[in-house]
């Protein structure tokens, strides 16, 4: 397909000329489109938070109890890791725009590394919970267990939402690898960096989701709430 942008001119009755926006190489359209896409992510996670708040309203105390039993140290570490990865991502993009392609690549690698660490920590956390008998289709979360409804729902949603967030992280890693490949192929350059911008935006929204997931799951029960189960 060859669609180089041929600048077009529209002419009105008086002969005044107006530049026409073509769809080819429309940087702003790329950005706008990606923002709109991110709004759909907002709605998706919004709906899940809605479900969470729904049961929270029905079982406030159970939610506090369940929250208190999560591992805040690991959760907090992961928060900081994502924070830093957002920085590396941002700096990478900044470097790309200023022409430092090599630095940009380095930053992307750093981000990938941080993402992997995040996943590993998450894995440890899930494993510990599994050992406590808390896991989907397992022990405490089965219908016949005596864990209160509120806690069952809390953990059910906890695995769902952190799981889906994890899926986003994995997709993000894939996208970053693809980005590196495109940079190497000279398809993404300091002059033509919309792809890089959008992946940076994607990574930020992944981070953004965690900014809400973290306090809702790990912190609400951190106060004087009586211990877990």
């Amino acid at each position: 397909m060859s669609h180089e942008y041929v600048p077009e001119i529209a002419t009105d009755r008086e002969g005044n000329e107006y530049e026409v926006q073509g769809w080819q190489g429309d940087f702003y359209a790329g950005k706008l489109g990606f923002w709109l896409f991110m709004l759909t992510e907002v709605m998706m996670f919004g709906a899940m938070f809605l479900a969470l708040a729904y049961y929270n309203t029905l079982h406030p105390q159970d939610f506090l109890d369940a929250s208190a039993s999560l591992n805040r140290v690991l959760g907090g570490t992961n928060t900081v890791i994502l924070l830093i990865s957002a920085l590396t991502m941002g700096l990478g993009f900044l470097k790309m725009r200023t022409g430092d392609v090599k630095g940009a690549k380095l930053m992307i690698w750093a981000t990938i590394l941080l993402a992997i660490i995040f996943l590993v920590i998450k894995g440890f956390e899930w494993r510990a919970e599994y050992n406590h008998g808390i896991f989907l289709l397992h022990d405490q979360l089965l219908p016949e267990s005596s864990l209160p409804f509120g806690q069952k729902l809390f953990f059910g949603l906890y695995f769902t939402m952190t799981g889906l967030h994890g899926v986003h992280i994995i997709i993000g890693i894939g996208l970053m690898l693809w980005l590196l490949q495109r940079i190497n192929a000279d398809k993404v350059t300091p002059e033509h960096h919309i792809f890089h911008l959008n992946i940076a935006l994607y990574w930020d929204i992944v981070h953004l989701i965690w900014v809400f997931v973290f306090p809702y799951y790990y912190m609400i029960g951190a106060g004087g709430a009586t211990g877990g189960h």
């Binding site: 397909m1 669609h3 077009e8 529209a10 002419t11 009105d12 009755r13 005044n16 107006y18 530049e19 026409v20 926006q21 073509g22 769809w23 429309d26 702003y28 359209a29 706008l32 489109g33 709109l36 896409f37 709004l39 759909t40 992510e41 709605m43 998706m44 996670f45 919004g46 709906a47 899940m48 809605l50 479900a51 729904y54 049961y55 029905l58 079982h59 989907l136 289709l137 979360l141 089965l142 219908p143 209160p148 409804f149 509120g150 069952k152 729902l153 059910g156 949603l157 695995f159 769902t160 889906l164």
Partner: protein
């Protein structure tokens, strides 16, 4: 004659030689639109067939041609295909693709390759939906609403249907996204928002619904799948889950979805009425803004599907109150259309009689919607045939009828041919009469307490079902005849000029009919209102070579 978009195309990958591959890989918005039409219309007939089977089954009490379980699968298949495969993507995917870029003077949509990928995502969704027919226990039997916990308990292939709906939802999101960006970025110079044709307004409002409501149902379906496989508990009462939450999440999308269907259809109406009244539309701004406010209010009224679900009474009151306010902008539109006809010169061509017929049928559909949003009445009428008749009047008598109006209206533009007017009108009258015969008796049956999704019924209701059956036969005869007329028109019809209706909007100012590959030979400058008529003639005229105004 110069080349049209049938002769050449751009492709997503490479430059294939064979015509077939050129169609498969095309990124041209007009070709993609036509492919959507072809596919949708095929599925459409599958759904019509299941509908007919249901009507035969309901001809008299007791089993006729199928058993209860098959009937349950039949209405699910009918509902799922009609809603997810046909009517939700319908008008945006077909006419939004074909004419919207033409109307704003663009060469294509903002992301043509995404458009192509979206089409194939849609096909993928269709394949998944249909393959559920043959895999495992057969197609889902949950109804198109997939209510938990039934959808969690049944043995049929619900997962496939859910995945299909999710994929189709994604296709819908991407279409909306593409159109939003297109409308924001690619309008011809000079065309402000209030100089856009009203169909574009309809598509714009719709695109916002596609973008912001669809993800909610997407995630709901994902949650349902996770519930079924991993027992996360949120819809399972045994683990404390609340089935009513599912209904909330489902209708948060599915109510806006009904406006997603009707808004572009209203857009078609707003194109046809001024064109065949040879007169500028009455209240352009109110019509444009009412589309936006219907979309906006439409987000806040989903609860009127939950009046008897056990939702709190306060919420019922709030939802009922809000729902009435959708009727106001809709009513304003209707009055504006009628006022457009005042002192016009009304040409009763086929698109126009379809549009006027729809004013009657949709008004009935809308007004009976008002009946069931009065809570006390809905307590009686919810899940009866009154509701079923309401939404068939709204969907079939509103959206599908207007889609047909659009098909007649843009037929010369798309194919470059004319159909036979007399025959097309006969097809209209058959369908109009058949339709009313088919659905009006159902209001009465519903009022007397005929519940929906009933495979067998009490003998009192027989008479209504029988009238309905004959209506269905007449309707489907007219439907098939209409397609025959189209087919004959396309293959043997007279060639059409670029502007056979004397219309004003930009899609009729093309050098050839059908349009060439990259649309207008040059992008026009738009310093005029969309529907300017003077003494029955379009005011704005272009030199089709340079696209400069010559009036």
């Amino acid at each position: 004659m110069s080349k049209t978009y049938f002769d050449e195309t751009h492709c997503a990958i490479g430059h294939p030689k064979s015509t077939f591959m050129q169609w498969m890989l095309t990124v041209d918005h007009k070709r993609i639109g036509i492919m959507y039409a072809a596919v949708m219309f095929t599925f459409f007939f599958v759904a019509v067939f299941t509908a007919l089977a249901m009507r035969i089954e309901l001809f008299s009490p007791g089993g006729q041609i199928m058993d209860g379980d098959t009937f349950n699968q039949a209405f699910t298949l009918h509902g799922v295909i009609m809603i997810f495969l046909f009517i939700i993507p319908g008008i945006p995917a077909i006419f939004g693709n074909i004419v919207m870029p033409l109307m704003i003077g663009a060469k294509d949509v903002s992301f043509p390759r995404l458009n192509w990928a979206t089409f194939w995502l849609y096909i993928l969704g269709c394949i998944i939906a249909l393959s559920s027919l043959f895999i495992g226990e057969g197609v889902a039997d949950t109804g198109w609403t997939f209510y938990a916990p039934y959808s969690m308990n049944t043995d049929t292939n619900v997962i496939m249907a859910l995945v299909a709906a999710f994929v189709l939802g994604f296709a819908s999101i991407l279409t909306g996204l593409n159109f939003l960006v297109t409308i924001h970025r690619l309008r011809a110079p000079g065309m402000t928002f209030f100089k856009m044709p009203l169909f574009v307004w309809g598509i714009y409002a719709t695109a916002w619904i596609q973008l912001l409501a669809t993800p909610v149902v997407g995630i709901t379906l994902i949650l349902a799948i996770l519930e079924k496989y991993f027992g996360i508990g949120i819809f399972d009462p045994a683990k404390g889950g609340d089935p009513v939450l599912f209904q909330h999440l489902f209708w948060i999308y599915s109510h806006p979805a009904v406006y997603l269907m009707i808004l572009p259809a209203f857009g078609i109406m707003s194109e046809i009425i001024p064109t065949f009244s040879r007169k500028e539309i009455f209240g352009y701004r109110t019509i444009a803004l009412s589309s936006a406010s219907i979309a906006g209010i439409g987000y806040l009224v989903w609860g009127h599907h939950l009046y008897t679900s056990g939702m709190s009474d306060t919420a019922k009151t709030v939802f009922s109150f809000l729902t009435f306010f959708v009727a106001i902008p809709t009513g304003v539109k209707f009055y504006d259309w009628i006022a457009t006809m005042y002192q016009g010169k009304i040409v009763l061509s086929t698109p126009m009689i379809w549009a006027l017929g729809t004013i009657i049928t949709f008004a009935i559909g809308g007004i009976t919607g008002i009946t069931i949003t009065m809570i006390g009445l809905d307590i009686h009428l919810q899940d009866t045939y009154y509701t079923v008749a309401h939404f068939h009047y709204a969907i079939l008598g509103g959206v599908v009828f207007l889609m047909f109006a659009g098909m007649h209206y843009w037929f010369p533009l798309i194919t470059g041919k004319l159909y036979n007017e007399t025959q097309a009108k006969i097809a209209f009258y058959l369908q109009f009469v058949g339709f009313n015969l088919l659905w009006f008796p159902m209001f009465i049956a519903g009022y007397y307490g005929m519940p929906r999704r009933y495979f067998d019924y009490l003998p009192e209701f027989q008479i209504y079902h029988q009238i309905s059956f004959f209506g269905a036969i007449i309707f489907i005869t007219g439907l098939i005849y209409m397609f025959v007329v189209f087919y004959k028109g396309w293959t043997k019809g007279e060639a059409s000029t670029p502007n056979p209706w004397n219309a004003t909007t930009l899609e009729w100012h093309l050098p050839t009919s059908p349009p060439p590959l990259e649309n207008h030979s040059k992008v026009p400058y738009v310093d005029f209102e969309p529907y300017e008529y003077k003494n029955g003639e379009p005011v704005v005229k272009f030199d089709y070579e340079t696209m400069r105004r010559i009036d």
